[in-house]
């Protein structure tokens, strides 16, 4: 049961992480992967995510441990960017390997919901009139509440 968690300040290629992660779990039944990218939006020139060194990575590791505890997994991979990003750049990657698909899919769902609204990142968008801080959407809080 492997846990791999990275907090990156430079662009990354999701395939470079998912390939080795999948290969590291021979005999698995399925791998579910979610990759979130900076969404195309005519008004947004750039996105910045900020983190706090003394909390953010530790919180991601604790979240990955929660997923391992809650679902029957062979392994979980969590990669999250910090810093300034542009449209099309990957922000987050979560991959879960399991014997059965339901555990893999639910673990990714659970981990993404928590990363989006319950992890130590602060987000702002650059528009033509400058930077604007973003709060989680109501939808994100509703998604999180599903997990009790």
């Amino acid at each position: 049961m492997a846990r791999t968690v990275h907090l990156l300040t430079e662009p990354f290629n999701p395939g470079a992480y998912v390939g080795p992660f999948t290969n590291a779990h021979p005999g698995l039944g399925g791998v579910c992967t979610f990759v979130g990218e900076v969404r195309g939006d005519a008004e947004v020139e750039a996105l910045e995510l900020l983190h706090y060194d003394r909390l953010t990575l530790k919180g991601m590791e604790e979240l990955a441990d929660q997923a391992l505890q809650r679902f029957d997994l062979m392994g979980i991979l969590v990669v999250h960017r910090s810093g300034v990003m542009h449209v099309g750049e990957p922000i987050v990657l979560v991959s879960a390997a399991a014997k059965h698909r339901r555990d893999a899919i639910d673990a990714v769902d659970f981990t993404m919901d928590h990363l989006k609204s319950d992890s130590w990142f602060w987000k702002r968008e650059k528009r033509s009139d400058g930077w604007h801080w973003i709060e989680p959407r109501a939808r994100d809080h509703a998604d999180l509440a599903r997990w009790g």
Partner: protein, 80 residues
């Protein structure tokens, strides 16, 4: 004899800096007295949290930071 305040997210905009040293020791009332009114207002909100040396306080009013401590002021997150 100083405590380092670290301002995260929009609080850094309000503070005009990412961090600032204030005299130690520092408790909750002392903190509110050290920062500008708009920052103090944000800090009083339930959703604004405080961490001392990387450990979250369950109750901000219990803040008690000694010389050399790092006190992070954490507005609501918005990740991924």
């Amino acid at each position: 004899m100083a405590v380092k305040l670290v301002f995260l997210g929009r609080l850094a905009d309000l503070a005009g800096a990412d961090e600032r040293d204030v005299p130690a020791p520092l408790d909750w009332q002392g903190l509110l007295g050290q920062i500008e009114a708009p920052l103090a207002e944000e800090l009083r909100k339930d959703r604004t949290r405080i961490a001392v040396d990387g450990t979250l306080l369950a109750d901000k009013a219990q803040l008690n930071a000694a010389d050399g401590a790092e006190v992070a002021l954490l507005p609501p997150v918005s990740g991924g």
